[in-house]
């Protein structure tokens, strides 16, 4: 290899590395929805570019990201679409990718999966690979097809027509083809409700029951009361509806011990009075989650952004704050010694968000306490007393006080920013302090991995790749073995050398 080839290879490697790291970062935070600052369209364009770069850098790595628990459904949806749209790969690889998709779909919200299939219908993607994927997915979810047939009626009907799904698969297909009658109890209840039998409404899922209640002009109070008695709510529905039910004086059965940390914070913040067990619930949820995490820290100071911009949007009210709180308690659980420094110093259980973003004061407090690790969780939009002063402080600290670089700083950011094509950075490149996207407790491992990138990006990426391979289920692992055996070098192997 001559010098120019070597240089080109190095440049290509660096570019691939950057693409993949940026992709991992975005996949943990971006939901392609409007944020406090960016519109939905801006977010989507930016996210599509990140995906296309990652796909070009390493298709295998890209496909494996479907399995990462912390990647948002929106990102998984984009990965699946890109894999199905870009077909120039071997048959073995296609089968392996389908297996990965099925594995990922099994953990995704079903409406997201149906969205993907519907997009394929829109794009007129109707090859045998796609039809098989849809059929296989439906077969594996045979028990839920009745529910989907009434809950996502129109979308589901389009999909089964598109993939030529036979009515032998399930009665729901008959139902959607309007060839009644059917024997399935849920579908029957739907028919009865539609025919005007009000008592049947309460045997339907909440969202559908609401529609019928509005149609039959049942008062909100009566509907919620009867539904609480006769109907059945999922844990998530219970949490989401708790406030509304409470406003009508109806208690719903939310079991806080079964909620994820993120959902738990949303639930607790929705209550008029905080239960005395709130801290205990949070602590237990955190302990449950950190059991399988290998990382541990000996002494952490955590600077928590409690400025107003952490309030999110109307649709995602306070989500950046809840994410940060969930992450903060997990770090606490992983640390021998831990102290939190809030920007506004208001010590309420759920912080009150106020005005300006002054990281400098809180950072100085943390520096004075001589922590080994200083984590900053915030959206990175510093404005007080002026933008960039936190950077100056850390720069002077590193140059004149911590000359041996003993203190490790990491910035975790719960907000995806379109203009930053990822998350907004808080520190300049020369300080070598990463800004890492976080979403909820599931993103902790990925976030900590990205933190490791500060020391050595290539090694960190290799470890991460091995972790991804480990996440495959038996079916995917066998197919992946076939790819390796026949081909085969991974397209990522360039990086592995």
């Amino acid at each position: 290899m001559d010098m120019i080839e070597k240089l080109n290879a190095e440049i290509s490697l660096i570019s691939k590395l950057k693409s993949l790291i940026s992709f991992i970062n975005a996949s943990n935070t971006s939901i392609a929805k409007e944020t406090f600052y960016n519109t939905e369209d801006e977010q989507m364009i930016s996210l599509s570019k990140i995906h296309s770069d990652a796909l070009n850098a390493s298709r295998i790595f890209y496909a494996l990201m479907l399995l990462v628990e912390s990647a948002t459904d929106e990102n998984k949806k984009l990965i699946a679409l890109n894999l199905l749209e870009n077909t120039k790969v071997s048959l073995e690889q296609k089968k392996w990718e389908n297996a990965l998709m099925l594995q990922a779909f099994s953990k995704m919200q079903v409406n997201r999966v149906l969205d993907i299939f519907n997009y394929l219908v829109d794009m007129k993607v109707n090859n045998s690979r796609t039809r098989n994927l849809i059929l296989e997915f439906l077969k594996r979810n045979n028990r839920s097809l009745s529910l989907w047939a009434i809950k996502y009626k129109r979308a589901f009907r389009r999909i089964i027509r598109h993939a030529h799904i036979s009515s032998k698969l399930h009665e729901a297909i008959l139902f959607l083809s309007k060839r009644c009658p059917v024997k399935d109890p849920l579908l029957q209840n739907y028919y009865f409700a539609k025919a005007g039998e009000k008592s049947a409404i309460y045997n339907l899922p909440l969202t559908i029951a609401r529609g019928f209640a509005a149609k039959y002009k049942i008062s909100k109070e009566e509907f919620l009361k009867t539904f609480a008695e006769k109907g059945k709510l999922t844990q998530k529905e219970s949490r989401q509806q708790a406030q509304e039910f409470k406003a009508e004086g109806i208690d719903t059965e939310v079991d806080p011990t079964k909620l994820s940390l993120f959902d738990l914070y949303i639930y607790l913040d929705s209550l008029v009075t905080l239960p005395i067990e709130a801290e205990e619930y949070v602590e237990k949820a955190a302990k449950r989650h950190v059991k399988n995490i290998a990382y541990r820290f000996n002494d952490v100071g955590l600077v928590l952004d409690t400025s107003l911009s952490m309030s999110g949007t109307e649709k995602t009210k306070k989500h950046p704050l809840y994410r940060s709180l969930a992450f903060s308690v997990l770090i606490k659980e992983l640390s021998d010694k831990y102290k939190e420094y809030r920007l506004n110093k208001i010590p309420t259980f759920i912080p009150r968000l106020t005005a300006e973003t002054n990281y400098a004061n809180a950072l100085l407090e943390a520096l004075k306490a001589k922590h080994k690790f200083i984590f900053i969780i915030g959206d990175g939009y510093e404005n007080s007393p002026y933008e960039g002063i936190a950077n100056q402080i850390i720069s002077i600290f590193k140059r004149k006080i911590d000359i041996n670089n003993e203190v490790i700083f990491i910035h975790f950011n719960p907000v995806f920013a379109a203009e930053a094509k990822g998350v907004r950075k808080l520190f300049s490149e020369d300080l070598n302090i990463k800004s890492i996207g976080i979403r909820d407790e599931k993103s902790l491992t990925s976030a900590l991995f990205l933190a490791l990138c500060q020391k050595d990006e290539l090694s960190a990426l290799k470890i991460y790749f091995k972790e991804l391979l480990r996440l495959q289920n038996e079916e995917a692992r066998k197919l992946h073995y076939l790819i390796e055996k026949n081909k085969l070098e991974l397209d990522f192997s360039v990086n592995e050398e």
């Binding site: 406090f36 600052y37 960016n38 801006e42 400025s307 107003l308 911009s309 106020t354 005005a355 300006e356 973003t357 400098a360 100085l364 520096l367 004075k368 939009y381 510093e382 404005n383 007080s384 007393p385 002026y386 933008e387 960039g388 002063i389 100056q392 402080i393 002077i396 600290f397 140059r399 004149k400 006080i401 920013a417 379109a418 203009e419 907004r424």
Partner: protein, 346 residues
Amino acid sequence: MNKIKIKDLLKGYSIGKSAIQNIANMTVVPIISEVEYTPIADISNIRIKRDIMYNEIEFENISDNIGILLQGYTIFSYQKAQDRTIPYAHLIKSKMSKRIPANCVQRSQCGLLNEKKLKQEDFRILPTTLRAKALMHSTYTDASTSALWDDLNQFSPETNVDEKGLFSFYIKFKNQLNEFIASFEPVDKQLGSIVLINDRIAAFDIVPNYKNWLLVYRPLIRDSYAAEAIRAIQNKKIKSLISVIDDKEVTTILSLENAYKKNTQDFYKRISDIIEMNIELEVSYKTLDTVADLNLVKIKSQQYIGCAVFHGQHIIYLSLVSKSLQDKAIEDFEKIDKYSDKEFEI
């Protein structure tokens, strides 16, 4: 013409010093007050009812209270219709409509607005220097369609705003504008702000209550102030009030903290000095309209121009902007000690 010092206009308000926010060449100093004026329409309740002609738009106030149409209110229609701005603030009675003079900010486009297809909640407010020009080139009762065309050309020659329309500036600098708005946050009890661009005061703005402040926050911070700050950056006329922390004496964390404190104190002092100097200026004002117990006035001085609404002697609305374009800023001359500061005597 009555005369008053700016500091007297601002009586009853205070500055939220600890919540001063700065990014690049723009500083927002919050104006806060414990007392709000609430019997007033939300800004969102003042809506375009009908586009009558190029220099006149009919607005309606759909609320039960008197409404204030903001000075520099601007609408981009994205229709085959001329984008327009309102040069003066106006008072509109409850449940009433009013025909209001307008200027054009899109020279190359003809056509009247279809109000039914307008996203009226997406209104903007003119950049501060254009707000001043709009007041200077129109009267309260009469405005010419073309009054702002020459100023638009000067505002951003490289964007060709003159021909393409003002909205082309917002499209071109969309990302930068979003970054600016991202960096500022409203403060508790905030009813207004003093905005410094480079090292000069660009505007004093006040609205009657916090709810209205939140409604006007994005149009003011992003479309008015940040647009002006970006224009200054484009013209390479950047002066910042911030300075690098002096780290000569820093050897410990305590000395680092002291250096930081000194730096921020100096920063606040520079801002205070500029504000103190400017609020001592005297402005003249005359009444334009009176509705119930509210008086709308025009304010003028050599440096500033604007509109205000008085409730009794107290200001509940203020749009006071610097007259000078950034690239024609008034020079500061050096003070030479040997000359006396004694006032001119006859």
